[in-house]
Amino acid sequence: MSSRTPFSLFHFASPATFYPLATRMQPWFMALAVVLSVVGLYIGFLLAPTDAQQGEGYRIIFVHVPASWMAMFIYCVMAFWAAVGLAFNIKLASMMASALAPTGALFALLSLWTGALWGKPMWGAWWVWDARLTSTLILFFLYLGFMALQAAIDDPRRADKAGAIVAIVGVVNVPIIYFSVKWWNTLHQGASVSVTKSPSMAALMLWAMLIMALAFWMYSIAVALGRVRNIIVERERQNEWVRHAVA
């Protein structure tokens, strides 16, 4: 192997080389996540002006919107890594997919939860069958299905591959589900309030939201790296290097 020659990403495709890298990167991403969320929450909760129509209650969007973005985005990343793992038979890519799933599910749940907290004062209901709410709920179910299937299969390689097929089938279905639910919503004369009607946003609010989104990114990366390290140690424990790395 010509590992001394130019830097190659494939160098890190092996758990043995990726583990030390992940160990080194994880604290940095975690620190960035903490700093960014402190800044973002400070701007969002203390500096940003009170919304003319929604009062103080609107401030939940600084958590809600980034969480919803991450929930959708992580599913795509997870499906990507799962597909790479299945197609090229790369163990680490499948581990990455398994490591991302709980974080994605967490963000989907957080998005639903904060949405309910926001909906109660704004719409007077904890839950409306809006297209976005419904499709986020279904996305949450898809995450649960992926995790439940992987947990039910004892052989890790089989779990990786079966999970990959679920993730790929899911990612093909996400747009179909989204549009069908949207269509269903308009047909059924659903909620009278629209979530899509976005008010013009003050620059400070937008900044707070973007910084929070970045903070959630960093958090997701840090947590996924941490989880993938655990998975590597668990699965590769029979190898000599793991004993050295953990000791």
């Binding site: 039910a152 079966a162 097929i165 279905n173 269509w183």
Partner: protein
């Protein structure tokens, strides 16, 4: 094509020897549908409103009921491995099995649906659309379901897991299928709904066998 027909005939013959299994799913469909008026109350206007949705949901559940058995017996006695190893196309053989599942599990639902629809006070034109939407929709459910059945083959707690995996994927079919009957009662055109349902069926017919065979090969490794 011959491969498909042979596999289909074999599964139909096997099912013919064990008729009670086929009838169970059908009775399940009838019982679930009858539970709704009992639980909700007998007001005709309300029942007419929820009828299409209830029948569609019951069809989803009845389809789900037969899925764990789709590959289980062949997997247990090693037939499935022989099929995978044979020179004939594995995908076509599996399509034959899915087609048999639909003929035994989906088609009876389509035939029975108008009778149950009458209990909900649906009009003749609604019943027609209901039958048509189920006729296009139930093979779609069988195809999507076969992916889940293949993935959960031989897995602990497979049956419950199967519903968790497959039901979210059934949602678009439910939305469009039940929506078509509602569009009919609202006096809107149903062409769009049925076309989309048909498009989903074509898409599933193309991709689902691939995902099913890939999952089966993983399960048999």
């Amino acid at each position: 094509m011959n491969t498909l027909v042979v596999s289909l005939r074999r599964d139909l013959l096997l099912a013919g020897r064990r008729r009670s299994e086929v009838l169970t799913a059908l009775f399940f469909f009838v019982v679930v549908v009858s539970l709704f008026p009992i639980g909700i109350g007998p007001e005709p206007a309300l029942l007419r409103r929820i009828g299409p949705g209830v029948l569609w949901v019951a069809a989803l559940l009845a389809t789900l009921l037969g899925l764990p058995r789709l590959f289980a017996a062949d997997h247990a006695d090693g037939t499935l491995e022989q099929m995978a190893l044979s020179s004939q196309s594995f995908a076509l053989q599996m399509v034959g099995k899915v087609a048999a599942h639909w003929l035994l599990c989906g088609l009876p639902l389509v035939v029975l649906a108008p009778v149950l629809g009458l209990q909900f006070g649906l009009e003749a034109d609604q019943l027609g659309i209901l039958m048509l939407s189920l006729l296009i929709g139930t093979p779609l459910l069988s195809l999507i379901g076969s992916i889940g059945a293949a993935l959960t083959l031989g897995v602990r707690g497979g049956g419950v897991l199967l519903s968790l995996l497959v039901l979210p994927l059934f949602i678009p079919a439910l939305v469009v299928g039940a929506g078509s009957v509602e569009a009919q009662s609202a006096g809107l055109g149903v062409q769009g709904h049925l076309s989309i349902l048909g498009a989903m069926l074509v898409l599933a017919a193309f991709f689902a066998p691939w995902a099913t065979t890939a999952s089966l090969r993983i399960a048999m490794e």
